[in-house]
């Protein structure tokens, strides 16, 4: 099997770290930490460093095994399967959240009259097709798309510099400290806990394993910076009052982009970034879930991916009847579901420590 480069690994890792900036991060924290949301992002990602280090630690245990195989190896068949099922359910919930988030964004901003089911189906068909390929192909696609995304991100942020009003970030640190901490924990939960999914790629599949740790840490710093820049530009350009009012404040900022000083109305092209990030994330989740329900027959694997995709669309449609239900789910339930991954981290790490001691 072909190996994947550390750059490709970094691109997948970056997707996991920043995809929730597409309308969810700021939505979750703007009401609690207000003007100081940028501080919550910093603290959140600092807290998340713990999970990054744990991920690196877990990856070094039986480098040839993926996450699900590691669990079965560590906890034996019965408990291992239960843990894998829990992880799969959490990944599945992340997938339906991402799918609804991006579909509702497309439907409210561009395709007002198109049924959301069609938007979802289009996205999921692409993800299923990609997920039926090997991880090195997914990694190739991810690297290509992320390279385009980063160029677009840099260009649009350079053109936004003129619109930034530092005054909109004042007064500094006047939000209740407890609120900032709560927001930071939310950020840590949704952006950094799911990095567990990167372990679906066994460390042995990376071409230059010496750079594994370094590349993950550098990518983590880049991811933190991207999230921070998005938060800072949104609040400093729109001001906290408009940011609080808009459903997709990050997208409203993109409406002010003038590429090279004259190319206006490019927000739709730039927001393709959101769609491509979600697409890679969804592909990775479908791929992981397929790997968990592993069959040796390639055709059966493809069937499993298709079934997972169909179930994803049906569940998303059934669970999220409208955007208000979705928003309430994000605010009140989603965080706690993802937080279960924290327990999984602790379980796996403790077990590895004990196994090594034995």
């Amino acid at each position: 099997m072909k190996k994947i480069s550390y750059l490709e690994l970094s691109s997948i890792f970056l997707v996991i770290l920043i995809t929730f900036n597409s309308g969810i991060n700021l939505f979750l924290i703007k009401n609690t930490s207000g003007i100081d949301s940028w501080l919550s992002i910093i603290i959140g990602y600092i807290i998340g460093l713990i999970f990054l280090l744990l991920t690196i630690y877990i990856s070094n245990y039986h480098k040839e095994l993926n996450l699900f195989e590691k669990n079965k190896h560590l906890f034996k068949d019965f408990i291992g399967t239960i843990i894998n099922i829990i992880i799969s359910i959490i990944f599945f919930i992340i997938a339906i959240t991402l799918l609804y988030n991006i579909s509702s964004f497309i439907n409210t901003q561009f395709l007002y009259h198109t049924p959301i089911l069609i938007t979802m189906s289009l996205l999921i068909i692409l993800s299923i097709y990609c997920a039926t390929k090997e991880i090195n192909i997914i990694a190739h696609i991810s690297l290509l798309l992320m390279a385009i995304n980063i160029i677009m991100f840099i260009l649009c942020n350079i053109s936004l510099i003129g619109n930034i009003k530092i005054d909109n970030l004042l007064p500094f640190l006047k939000t209740n400290y407890l609120n900032i901490i709560i927001s930071s924990l939310k950020i840590a939960c949704i952006n950094t806990l799911p990095i567990l999914i990167i372990l679906i790629i066994p460390k042995e599949k990376i071409t230059n394993q010496n750079k594994y740790q370094k590349s993950l840490i550098i990518t983590y710093i880049i991811g933190t910076l991207i999230s921070l820049i998005i938060t800072l530009t949104t609040i400093s350009i729109l001001g906290i009052y408009l940011t609080n009012m808009y459903e997709y404040a990050e997208y409203m900022v993109l409406k002010k982009v003038k590429l090279f000083g004259f190319l206006e109305r490019v927000e739709n092209i730039i927001s393709m970034k959101w769609i491509t990030e979600t697409y890679i994330y969804l592909t990775l989740i479908i791929y992981s879930l397929t790997k968990n329900i592993k069959k040796k027959n390639k055709n059966t694997d493809n069937c499993i991916s298709i079934i997972i995709g169909i179930v994803l669309v049906i569940t998303t449609n059934y669970v999220f009847k409208n955007i208000t239900i979705f928003n309430n789910f994000i605010k009140n339930i989603f965080i706690y579901i993802i937080a279960i991954l924290f327990i999984i981290y602790i379980l796996i790490t403790t077990k590895i420590i004990f196994t090594k001691k034995e």
Binding site: H113, T114, P115, L122, D167, P171, Y241, L242, K255
Partner: protein, 386 residues
């Protein structure tokens, strides 16, 4: 291979965007809207571009059409327009929104929701207060569309006179949502409104009968229009809020003799400190016209003139700010916002009594600094014959 081909065909069929596609010949480009209210009903005048035939020999058509719709909500009024228009109103190119002062005096809040909620409307269009009705119907020379004519006039006035101001819906929403600031909007009116004003005839004579005039800035308090600033007060507002690109200062340098200094660059900063507001205004000017007997090639005279101009501007600014405070008791300058951002301790003390007591009485120190950086082609001042 077969399955891949099938998948491609399915995707091609799905990617036509058929649910939301709009052909160019099926849409009417909406460029401006004027909103009025009568008996709890919104009346909307929508300016739509009338596509012209490239063949110049055909009959002359009006460059734009005004459609009118009524409804309990703005949305309903727009929908009603569709009964008389053969095409779908495409709002993405909306550049002007004129709100009639009748609505502004009642409650401006009702306007916000539709435009901010609707994703097909861009929020970068300009908002004005209309002092008359049917302003958009006026035909104008040079710029064929009344919306682009109004928009260019505001830009020109803001750039060369500094009386009016460009306020987009986003700016207006920020002013409205910010509890420490009040709304201020430019206004417009028609002068000599007659029966030909909405006819192409209005542009046929060299002396135009009916024309619109950009009026002074409209002051709000909360969600209600309170009144309009004078020309001088408008310039003061724009100077303090850094909205002046180019303007003039006319100063009486001798008895009934005047000197005009053109503002080249200006910057101001509001600095709250210890329950006082300090405003620093720095201006670079060029002497545009001098009808006094002044030696403009003498460095001492220039310094003296700079001093006089600075103290003149200081007096004028103080007077205008106090007038605005007294007349409207509306914090259009955003003093409370500055206190909130830069002096949080004072903010905690004054926020509850801001309009009742603090805003009227807060001490405002103005520090104006005018530099003369040029005096035009003439070396000296206007030396009178004795």
């Amino acid at each position: 291979m077969k399955s891949k081909t099938l998948l491609l065909i399915v995707i091609i069929l799905l990617l036509t965007g058929c649910y939301d596609h709009k052909e160019l010949n099926k849409i009417a480009i909406l460029t401006a809207t004027e909103i009025n209210k009568n008996n709890d009903e919104f009346i909307i005048n929508a300016e739509v571009v009338n596509p012209q035939s490239p063949d110049k020999t055909t009959y002359i058509q009006a460059p734009f059409i005004i459609y009118t719709g009524k409804g309990k909500t703005i949305s309903e009024a727009y929908r009603q327009i569709k009964l008389s228009s053969s095409r779908y109103l495409y709002p993405d190119h909306l550049s002007i929104l004129i709100i009639n002062e009748k609505i502004a005096k009642e409650d401006i809040t009702e306007i916000f929701d539709f435009y901010l909620r609707n994703p097909s409307v861009r929020t970068e269009f300009n908002v004005l207060i209309g002092k008359n009705e049917d302003i958009l119907s006026l035909t104008t020379p040079i710029d064929k569309l009344s919306s682009s004519s109004i928009l260019e006039s505001i830009k020109t006035n803001n750039q060369y006179q500094g009386i009016t101001n460009l306020v987009t819906l986003d700016d207006m929403s920020i002013m409205y949502l910010n509890p420490h600031k009040e709304i201020i909007l430019p206004s417009i009116k028609i002068e000599n409104d007659n029966k030909d004003s909405d006819n192409i005839k209005n542009t046929e004579d060299t002396k135009i009968d009916s024309t619109y005039k950009l009026s002074n800035l409209a002051v709000f308090k909360g969600n209600k229009l309170q009144g309009y600033l004078t020309d001088d007060e408008s310039i003061t507002y724009n100077l303090i809020t850094n909205n002046v690109k180019n303007s003039i200062i006319t100063y009486e340098c001798d008895k009934n003799k005047y000197l005009t200094a053109e503002i080249i660059t200006s910057s101001s900063k509001i600095k709250p400190k210890n329950n006082e507001i300090n405003i620093d205004i720095n201006i670079s000017t060029v002497i545009n016209e001098s009808n006094c007997n002044i030696e403009l090639n003498n460095a001492k005279t220039i310094k003296q003139l700079e001093k006089e101009l600075s103290s003149y501007l200081k007096e004028k600014t103080e007077k205008n700010i106090n007038n605005i405070r007294k007349k409207y008791n509306s914090d259009i300058f955003g003093f409370l916002d500055e206190i909130y951002k830069h002096d949080y301790k004072t903010y905690q003390k004054v926020k509850n009594n801001w309009y009742n007591q603090e805003f009227k009485n807060i001490k405002i120190n103005i520090n104006s600094q005018i530099n003369i950086i040029g005096k035009g082609n003439i070396m000296e001042g206007n030396n009178e014959k004795n």
